[in-house]
Subunit: 209 residues, 4 copies
Amino acid sequence: MADPLWPYCTPGIPDDRFERLPGIPMTELEVRMLILAQLRLRPDAVLWDIGAGTGTIPVEVGQLCPGGQIVAIERDEEVAGLIRRNCQRFGVKNVSVVEGSAPDCLGAIAAPSGGSLVDRSLPDCILIEGGQPLQDVLRSAWDYTRPGGRIVATTSSLEGLYAISEFLAELQARDIEVVQSAINRLQRRGIRQSFSAVNPTFILSGEKG
Amino acid sequence: MADPLWPYCTPGIPDDRFERLPGIPMTELEVRMLILAQLRLRPDAVLWDIGAGTGTIPVEVGQLCPGGQIVAIERDEEVAGLIRRNCQRFGVKNVSVVEGSAPDCLGAIAAPSGGSLVDRSLPDCILIEGGQPLQDVLRSAWDYTRPGGRIVATTSSLEGLYAISEFLAELQARDIEVVQSAINRLQRRGIRQSFSAVNPTFILSGEKG
Amino acid sequence: MADPLWPYCTPGIPDDRFERLPGIPMTELEVRMLILAQLRLRPDAVLWDIGAGTGTIPVEVGQLCPGGQIVAIERDEEVAGLIRRNCQRFGVKNVSVVEGSAPDCLGAIAAPSGGSLVDRSLPDCILIEGGQPLQDVLRSAWDYTRPGGRIVATTSSLEGLYAISEFLAELQARDIEVVQSAINRLQRRGIRQSFSAVNPTFILSGEKG
Amino acid sequence: MADPLWPYCTPGIPDDRFERLPGIPMTELEVRMLILAQLRLRPDAVLWDIGAGTGTIPVEVGQLCPGGQIVAIERDEEVAGLIRRNCQRFGVKNVSVVEGSAPDCLGAIAAPSGGSLVDRSLPDCILIEGGQPLQDVLRSAWDYTRPGGRIVATTSSLEGLYAISEFLAELQARDIEVVQSAINRLQRRGIRQSFSAVNPTFILSGEKG
């Protein structure tokens, strides 16, 4: 049997190992690691990833928590296919990709009327990387999160930083944390190696009391 | 039985969960995550951590890779005790703490003359967070690393950045990567929340051909 | 005659050339430069600096615009004295230090009933580095700014970033800009030189239509 | 008479006010401010700018020091023309643009055999933004700098950081400073405002004893 593509028990898959589609955002390695640090998933945890993009978080979490369940939610059919292919590529089997628009589709995920989702239950953690309008996504995500569970949200916009931060304060989330990543990578350009910046991302998190 | 202190399968233990000693450096959460991303440890990997400080990396790796072996190397007896206590605190059992000065002590670790270290073998990865002089530590570390294994080194100094970068180039390490972390954390000061910067750290890595 | 302390026509006075008081904030060199870039002062401009702290901006602006008028507003008597001494130190003569609490004291500055302030007029630019409550300071500052003039405000807090950004948008300021500085300085620690981060500051600016 | 394009006595010309050519580097506003802070030019100073690119530094310095002389050195004819046009655009008259390759052309600039350069003398400050090979440029620049004068050099590469830092240490430059800028700008993308990073630049400086 061939060696799996990521045979390691530590996360940190390089960006270029994933299949990509032009224009589809990818959570870059360094930001991905900072997100992982906020998820705090138990071995049997249920994670919903709203706006999963290229699927890097589902793949990493699928490998770190083989006994967990990850639901990747993407409204775009083509992107949903990309997430599925990236999961296959890394041999990750505990990710369900749901095509739908958050927050509308969340109810059906939480209370599936039979089928392969029947054993799914309320999430221990919801990661919000997309969805419109953000306030509604946040509100629904909060409602569906299990008590004691966590909300983690990323944004690179000022409006997003506002909305998420105010929302977590208003809902009286516990242990609210805000981290801004500003990573520089040394990259080869011709014969020179120059530092270039990975665009800054804010990662916010809090716990439902 | 009490819930373990970190019952999660994702890394990212908050800094304040560790026991600390005044003046002993600790690899802060965000930098720790970026280091973890470079280790690429297989389930049975052997990791040497030179200059392990508070022991945050041994604890996180011990949990991520329960089948691996971690050797934490610290010359200071008191700090070695701190690492042991932090491993106990988190229920991590696959970390051996060696009191010794790198590079001198590395030979004895690689070829132990009996005792509990007898089953130890050449490391798959060496993480260099300390040791003097740096050039000698790098050279020895490289020699002991298994072919195909990795060297990961951190520094916040210009001299360190030079020495490590030149060393990796000279030894023709493969896939050399240099990342500079520059994280801002939102921290409460009285009634206000201000962004403060985690001091920048360079993380360099490369593979032995 | 002795050489003046800063005989240069370029700004950029090193932090350690200023007299300091413990606990009194100082706008560090790099942040100061980014603030200067937003002021856009004509040779005869009037600048109000609310919460001038150590007085680094009044000193630099006083030298760059010898024909301008700078009003440094500080509620603390001791700090006001510090600003005066720093202006003397650098031979800057076009700074008036007003002891008072913004926004309450602004009216008296705008319309002085005689005395040495008689020739003062509405400011071309107001720099807001302090004052409480921020919303009221912003509102008053906006009202006093001459049409076509500018508001520049600095903050390191999330609340401040919110308040200033929303305020500028609501008042329909033109050319709103938000810059976040994240500077690393190489500093000598013993025999090593390490990079350390200057805490991040947001600088917001906009023009009154 | 029309208002000049930059009627202000404070530096900080927005990037989009300059004429640009595709592929020609421009020193962005925030980095430019940090460079200006290191130049320390007296009113009658002579500045050489090696690798002046778009000419933003000559324009800003030309305005800050109307009694100074700036020599902008560019080997590319088309770029030299761009610098001249940007100087004209801002009404800056004290910049001479020299077409030539540093370090070879520096001797002719220092000791011109008649002509319009006759009154030129050794520079008080040399700013190195380009030139090949870097070591030779540094060496020549150091030789031509007046005693007590300054060298300021920028780089975004690791090799450049090495070379400049070692050079300044070896030559025993005084007051060596290394600053790394890492600026984030809030930029409008459609209806959202996202933070994006200006690529990090190292600015090194030192004084000739």
